[in-house]
Symmetry: D3
Subunit: 138 residues, 6 copies
């Protein structure tokens, strides 16, 4: 049970998961909060990554694709969408799978959401030198 | 290319995908539209299932988990969320994986979204005689 | 200019517009607020109907179709969507035009929004004895 | 710092805050999760109430009014809105202050949000025998 | 029925509708997808424009005003809102009618939505040399 | 009752409230609307500030914190969120209280909303020379 987990284990698990999933982009988010909202940084490490993402039931790629789906559908969190498109690549998702999930959101949240999701993916792919044609098989 | 696909292939692919994924619940949605909005029924079959879900890049379970993630996060489409929780079960997702994706939405869309997603899952699990403790490992 | 309009003109304009557009359903909303939130009732009459809907630039049917579009897309205001589907009928919009606008939202807000919009339309059409096949040309 | 807080302190703080704020309605939510999603129950106690609501910077009434504002504006979490309207009453907010915050959302999220928020407040007030005219000063 | 429509008719209808409604801005969106998400480009042409917008029930100006209403209300698709404000002008809507629909969204989705919609309209009007005072009759 | 309030009183009340709450940023919004949408400027003064914000039930700081909560949670109105973070400071809210309300939205609308709210607060604090460490007590 979570209530029996020593707090420092949550932090260690969270740090490890953040590093593996969000890498430098995640670290930058955490560091940027240290002056103005240090508790938010703690919660991201301990709760989001230490408690939620570290649950064993789902592999990281499926978790990141679910996050990309949700953020694409909500359409109001473009910086976080880019972090998690990068996170999906970090944990081994195929670029084409990321695009597939984004396109699927056209059905559930409308074409503008999918278009803005594809624009986010293009930026992340460009930064990493990923050929967009590989992703889209175009 | 989609533009070279004969229309009746889209319909056949869509009918097959709808049956496999959404089963009777999906069929009921389609049938209920035949009097008032038959074009919407056509589009669901031909576009949503025939074009989008039938793309080969992702397995159906990953697609359904992405849909469950998005609908849980949006929080304004409870009937469709239940259809796709059922769809996830139909295509072989583990009940615990569905719960895991819903819980993850607490991080991205807030606890009310996750709570209402869990309530939807409970209803679907109850209808199918799935023990909720298996899902939640509680 | 609004700032030169006597307040009682706003109320008279709003009452007239509410009666023409929302009819009995609108009157019920206003009356239901009189104990718990009388200012909200005033604002709906004076601002929403007296200031906004009474502007001469658009005919009432176009205004109601725009409202039906927005509420279908937002997906979180089903009671108000039904009032304005009824309002669209009250001001002379064709049932088929209402369905057309709702279906178009599949493109901009996703299929769940359109499906829940059609369900709302069916309820309103049923209450008024409108044959759903006329609306959908099915 | 949160990272130095023993886990059992979080649970004790969370239990105390949940009891004071959400009372029986909150306890029911927690209990209802114990079979299907026990971790979500833990997170609500430890994170939402133990970490966030227990921060000393804001009094509980201001926190609950902020939550009522957000849930009214989002419009997709009616069960949780009712819990927190009750929570606002539990921590000593005036009924009229709750209505005031809900009405203010007409400006930021539109009249449908405010109308559905008032409907939620009426249900909670009715359950507690609060005269709606006191709230609305009508 | 859609299922009997040859696929190349959908494409031809969609290309014609896209050109008439969205003009160069729409063409740019399509072209920008050809490397990374060519299927999304196909779907926009074949489904959004070929199936939905080409339905005979509503004139293009009413359709574009409904889209402007929805995107203003949703508030999370500013690039697409600008394309469709331009589209409304392309199909003959009066600038003042576009502003009227955007202002009406203050009632249904709140003043921030209306303010950001007006900002989008100003940009599009500026690009086309439309005097903003004509639109607002100020 | 609002219906007995002379219109020029609404304007005077609204001008006074706008000046006290939103200051120069609010004035800029009003002025920017005078050519393209003068009625929207009137409505903001007369309705939003003259009718709603001027109601006596809540102090301005609580009203502004409720607005910051709602706009952070909605996540689709960043310019208005910054105006109201500034407004909260103008009416005497502590910087730390503003951050507290934003962080609380992580629970109700997810971490991306809270992160983007903190980013907005940092911009406003920077413009005013407020040390972010004071706000976050870091």
């Amino acid at each position: 049970m979570a209530s029996q987990t020593p707090e420092n284990d949550r932090r260690a698990r969270g740090e490890a998961a953040l590093t593996e999933i969000a890498g430098g982009a995640g670290r930058n988010v955490i560091d940027s909060l240290r002056d103005i909202a240090p508790e938010l940084a703690d919660w991201i490490l301990d709760f989001s990554y230490g408690d939620v993402f570290s649950r064993p039931g789902l592999d990281y790629c499926t978790r990141e694709l679910a996050t990309v789906a949700a953020l694409t559908a909500m359409g109001n969190a473009q910086p976080q969408l880019k972090v998690h498109i990068g996170g999906a690549l970090n944990v081994g998702c195929e670029p084409a799978a990321i695009i597939d999930v984004i396109l699927q959101m056209a059905v559930y949240a409308g074409f503008p959401s999918a278009l803005n999701g594809v624009a986010a993916a293009r930026e992340v792919f460009d930064d990493r030198g990923i050929d967009p044609r590989v992703a889209g098989k175009g």
